[in-house]
């Protein structure tokens, strides 16, 4: 979204967006410096840093926007019904996996009673429709895809068990942070402005509908009506503000990662998050841009 709007601004395109289909490929591209920055799930970013990969989280992509989905006509009616069933997750290092552990704990269950399988996000709705899995825990728009197509039902949204839930974060290579901080700040400022634009008071819904259109067509290569569903039903299904990385949110993720066996040692917040760019973007205002306009400010 930031790329599309900024192209109409005086500064022009701020960065070069590159579409990937899975997190492992993004990880490799980041490590090999093919990509200098990436959006990825927070636990994966933390795990990379813990393994010594020189990257840092500088901002969030959004808040909420993940859900556990089951077949509408299937046998799973409550969380307890997931016992022994196959649940797809995007990665072992994902908040979508951690939310299952959190929900299991709150329901007096051991999440290990669920059979979790890793699956590329674009594949999960088809797998649920075909009966290859019993449920999936995934970010939007895949829960919306299953709902829209009529075969899926949201068992619960992540926020139900995890207030202030975060999943997608912006990660930047350490060498870029050190040598090109102005480029990183420009990127973060643009994303902050996009978030504010999507949450822009009375224009909120109109902006989200317009964003669904151009992001669906030109960036996600998905039907825009799918994104429209994800961004407006209800309007706070995915939130784009506040996007500054907060210590307590990440310390909870680290604790859950430790408890669920995907992180073998504690890692201090400062080691995997650099807050200076979020602080630099704190005075940003929404993009001044409306559908059909060919200028943005």
């Amino acid at each position: 979204m930031t790329d599309y709007i900024s192209a109409y601004s005086q500064s022009g395109q701020l960065f070069v967006p590159r579409l990937f289909q899975g997190f492992p490929e993004i990880k490799e591209a980041l490590m090999s410096n093919k990509m200098q920055a990436a959006f990825m799930v927070a636990p994966m970013a933390i795990a990379l840093r813990a393994q010594g990969v020189p990257v840092k989280i500088v901002y969030l992509g959004h808040r909420y926007g993940s859900a556990v989905v089951v077949r509408k006509d299937g046998p799973v009616k409550t969380f307890a019904d997931l016992r022994g069933r196959i649940v797809a997750i995007p990665s072992r290092f994902s908040d979508e996996r951690l939310i299952l552990f959190k929900a299991a704990h709150d329901n007096g269950m051991d999440a290990r009673a669920l059979h979790m399988v890793e699956m590329a996000p674009p594949d999960v709705a088809g797998a649920l429709a075909a009966g290859a899995i019993d449920a999936f825990s995934m970010g939007e728009p895949f829960p919306s895809q299953a709902e829209m197509a009529g075969f899926g039902r949201v068992l619960f949204h992540a926020r139900q068990y995890w207030p202030d839930y975060i999943s997608c974060v912006l990660v930047v290579r350490q060498d870029v942070i050190e040598h090109r901080p102005e480029a990183v700040q420009m990127l973060v400022d643009g994303i902050a402005r996009s978030g504010l634009w999507l949450e822009d008071g009375t224009r909120r819904e109109a902006h989200r509908v317009h964003a669904s259109d151009f992001v669906g067509r030109y960036y996600y290569r998905q039907n825009p009506s799918l994104l429209r569903w994800a961004l407006t039903k209800p309007i706070d299904r995915v939130m784009y503000e506040p996007l500054s990385p907060r210590r307590r949110d990440f310390e909870l993720i680290v604790r859950l990662m430790r408890e669920t066996g995907v992180l073998d040692h504690d890692i201090p917040f400062e080691e995997y998050v650099d807050t200076r760019f979020a602080e630099g973007a704190s005075g940003m205002t929404p993009w001044k841009y409306e559908a059909g306009s060919n200028t943005a400010q």
């Binding site: 960065f15 590159r18 980041l30 926007g65 090109r180 480029a183």
Partner: protein, 49 residues
């Protein structure tokens, strides 16, 4: 024979031009040719919110 060759070259040229216009991401290629300090950041994303 010349007609056939001309048609073949025209067809290949048209397909090549269409491919380069529709499938090649020129902003990526041009960006990767710039000096390191002038390059825009390549930012990876997947089609999930």
């Amino acid at each position: 024979m010349r007609k056939l060759l001309f048609g073949l070259v025209t067809w290949v040229s048209a397909v090549t031009a269409a491919h380069m216009a529709l499938n090649v991401n020129w902003s990526v290629i041009m960006n990767d040719r710039l000096p390191l300090d002038k390059r825009k950041l390549n930012v990876a994303y997947i089609p999930v919110t």
